[in-house]
């Protein structure tokens, strides 16, 4: 910025300098105001969305009270309890994380620590390609191709573990192609790119001096990763994981297609379930009255959850970034 200013002033004055500076002052101020307005606009829209959805949901909050956390969702009998959906959101989110995080972190380590830069590039492209697949495509692939294929596997596992104490209640029958687990797998595919690329960036910030120090002390690559890279990037990776979770719990249409659409609280991961975004997408069209307010209210709860997860993620990333600058 300052270099440009100096160059301009040094240029021979074809235009009276005063006019130019006055003009630029106006442009600068205009730019400043426009940028500020753009920033504020986002904030204002967010606040307006929060206020209007909460207002539309108020009849649910007022008629149900703490009953909004009830366990029964039965629109024919005017029972609108959100717990089955919160449960489903948590379960699918956890399944997605359990599957996506180890893979993503390993890919990130592979890219930064193992393969040379020239080979890393194509791998990055391929992983990022996963992120550009629209979620409805994931959902359709999930319900038309993946679910019919995997339901036989579920059925086999289900009959094999049926009756065994813990495994039986987690993976036993009833099994269904569209289920918590299928939704979790699809979500895992969807969050892998974001977790990978954020982890990769965090891991890449580990100072070369530290790595070489570890090698100089005779450590193997694995010891170096465990002793130097991991402590350094822990916080950032946790942040990346939380951002992935934020995406997983908000993902709507893919989940709506493959989760099975049955509001249930069960330990059986292979059975049909429901989560918050999916029920809103599925049931909004024919809703009215308190039913519609309840769906709006689910939206508000979802909004709150995603904000909490995202704020936590940012906090974790910032803290680790600060610590690394300190190092």
């Amino acid at each position: 910025m300052s270099a440009v200013t100096q160059a301009d002033q040094a240029a021979p004055g074809a235009v009276p300098a005063g006019g130019l500076i006055g003009h630029r002052g106006l442009a600068d101020r205009t730019f400043q105001w426009l940028a500020l307005a753009a920033g504020l606009l986002v904030l204002i829209i967010l606040v307006l969305i929060a206020v209007s959805t909460t207002e539309q949901a108020s009849s649910w909050f007022s008629t149900e009270g703490w009953g909004i956390f009830g366990t029964v969702w039965d629109t024919a009998n005017n029972k609108f309890g959100a717990t089955p959906f919160i449960f489903g959101t948590a379960v699918t989110g956890i399944i997605a994380l359990v599957m996506a995080v180890p893979v993503s972190v390993l890919i990130a380590l592979l890219l930064v620590e193992v393969v040379p830069f020239r080979l890393a590039r194509p791998i990055v492209y391929v992983v990022d390609l996963l992120a550009v697949v629209p979620s409805v495509v994931w959902g359709l692939w999930g319900i038309l191709v993946f679910a019919p294929w995997i339901q036989h596997i579920y059925a086999h596992i289900g009959s094999a573990v049926n009756g065994i104490p813990v495994l039986g209640s987690l993976f036993g029958p009833p099994t269904s192609g569209a289920s918590f687990f299928t939704a979790g797998i699809i979500l895992a595919f969807m969050i892998t790119p974001i977790v990978t690329s954020l982890s990769r960036e965090v891991i890449a910030t580990v100072p070369t001096v530290d790595r070489e120090g570890a090698y100089a002390l005779g450590s193997t690559r694995w010891e170096m990763i465990r002793g130097v890279v991991w402590p350094h990037s822990q916080g950032g990776v946790v942040g990346a994981v939380l951002l992935g979770l934020g995406r997983a719990i908000g993902e709507t249409i893919a989940a709506a297609l493959v989760i099975g659409s049955s509001p249930s609280i069960t330990s059986h991961l292979f059975s049909t379930g429901y989560n918050m975004p999916a029920v809103i997408a599925n049931q909004f069209g024919e809703s009215s009255g308190v039913f519609k307010a309840a769906l709006m209210g689910l939206g508000v709860l979802l909004f709150v959850f995603t904000i909490i997860v995202n704020v936590l993620a940012r906090w974790a990333v910032n803290r680790s970034a600060r610590r690394m600058r300190g190092a």
């Binding site: 029964v72 969702w73 039965d74 629109t75 024919a76 009998n77 019919p148 009833p174 269904s176 569209a178 709506a256 297609l257 099975g260 659409s261 049955s262 509001p263 249930s264 069960t266 059975s271 049909t272 599925n282 049931q283 909004f284 069209g285 024919e286 809703s287 009215s288 009255g289 308190v290 039913f291 519609k292």
Partner: protein, 358 residues
């Protein structure tokens, strides 16, 4: 100097844009250029927007296509989205008419702020009990059986209760898989209304979504349920007739209130329509009718229009389009798998056209 000219051009452009915007706002999407006037057969131009019932969607699309040759200057858009969305769009003034499979429920009446809504019945349609059982082609079901199956009380196809109604059929021991709607739906609302009316043992109520047994498999839309039935041996589900036919599904005959087992067909649905109790506002329920040839799970759909219209052009367009829908449009119904309205309802609906805009 140069800059000043640019500013002036920009100012003129902005003014023009604002003027266009203001004009677009004031015409509220309903009217285009209110050109020639006179009888309904004169050329109209402008746009009608509508949304709602997905049950109506294929029919509306076909009618819109055919209507182009009658009024080339008019554009009609029918977006689906569900009956509930149609009604709330109409209430908030986003659309000029709405498709709905149910009359306005009591908790929504306040949204219309006391303005009178006219119901135009459009057609009838059977909801099939489609199933996937190889070797069983002529299944018979009673309302009580359907209720027990969809409440998860009967879980195997060779259950004695099903056998006693189908003495000749070779029923396998396959477990029954329920195929239901994952989205809220007018089909679900009318199917559960049928069970409420016809089966005393039905406990799950009537609504656009039902708290089905946990083992039910859900599909999105009639097509999604048809897909579940097709891919799952032992499945049974409720699918509207047009989609069931399009997917090549097998469907059961259902016992009606006269004790007859009737297979779903447009004719059997029209028979159900002939005996309905028509209320003064032209609402009715076509399920569980008394005629011996009536298919018992028959439902209906309406187009909802405000009686008062702010623009005369919109009034003319609504009269022209809905008039066509109830006139020549009815001829398109049977090929699409819907049932035309009986003549007494149709003539009352046509007579009501004159009330639009009055």
């Amino acid at each position: 100097m140069q800059r000043r000219r640019i500013q002036r051009v920009a100012a003129v452009g902005l003014a023009a844009a604002l003027a266009t915007f203001a004009a677009a706002c004031s015409s509220s999407g309903g009217s285009g250029s209110s050109s020639s006037s006179g009888s309904g057969s004169s050329a109209l131009s402008g746009t009608l927007n509508a949304s709602g019932s997905t049950f109506q969607l294929p029919f509306q699309q076909a009618v819109i296509q055919a209507f182009k040759s009658v009024q080339p200057g008019m554009t009609v858009n029918y977006g689906g989205g569900g009956s509930g969305k149609g009604r709330s769009d109409l209430a908030s003034g986003v659309v000029q008419f709405a498709g709905s499979d149910s009359p306005i429920p009591s908790d929504e009446v306040a949204n219309f702020k006391g303005k009178k809504v006219l119901y135009f019945p459009v057609f009838l349609g059977p909801i099939t009990m489609s199933y996937n059982l190889s070797g069983v082609s002529n299944l018979k079901l009673t309302p009580a059986l359907i209720a027990d199956i969809f409440q998860g009380k009967i879980t195997k196809w060779n259950d004695p209760a099903i056998k006693s109604v189908n003495p000749g059929a070779k029923l396998p021991s396959t477990p029954i898989t329920l195929a239901v709607r994952s989205d809220s739906s007018g089909t679900t609302a009318n199917f559960s209304l049928f069970l409420m009316t016809a089966a005393k043992n039905w406990k799950l109520g009537s609504s656009s979504t039902i708290n089905w047994p946990k083992t039910a498999h859900a599909g999105n839309g009639n097509g999604g349920v048809a897909q579940v039935i097709k891919s799952t041996p032992g499945a049974i589900g409720y699918v509207d007739y047009a989609d069931a036919k399009a997917s090549g599904l097998t469907y059961a005959s259902v016992q009606n209130s006269a004790g007859q087992f009737v297979a779903p067909s447009p004719a059997a649905a029209s028979a159900a329509g002939s005996t309905v109790t028509l209320k003064p506002d032209l609402t009715f329920a076509a399920v569980w009718q008394s005629s011996s040839s009536a298919y018992p799970i028959t439902y209906q759909s309406w187009d909802l229009v405000y009686q008062k219209q702010s623009s005369t052009n919109t009034t003319k367009m609504l009269k022209a389009y809905i008039g066509y829908l109830l006139g020549d449009g009815q001829k398109l119904l049977t090929t699409l798998g819907y049932a035309p309205l009986p003549s007494n309802i149709l003539s009352k609906a046509k007579a009501q056209l004159s009330q639009i805009g009055s």
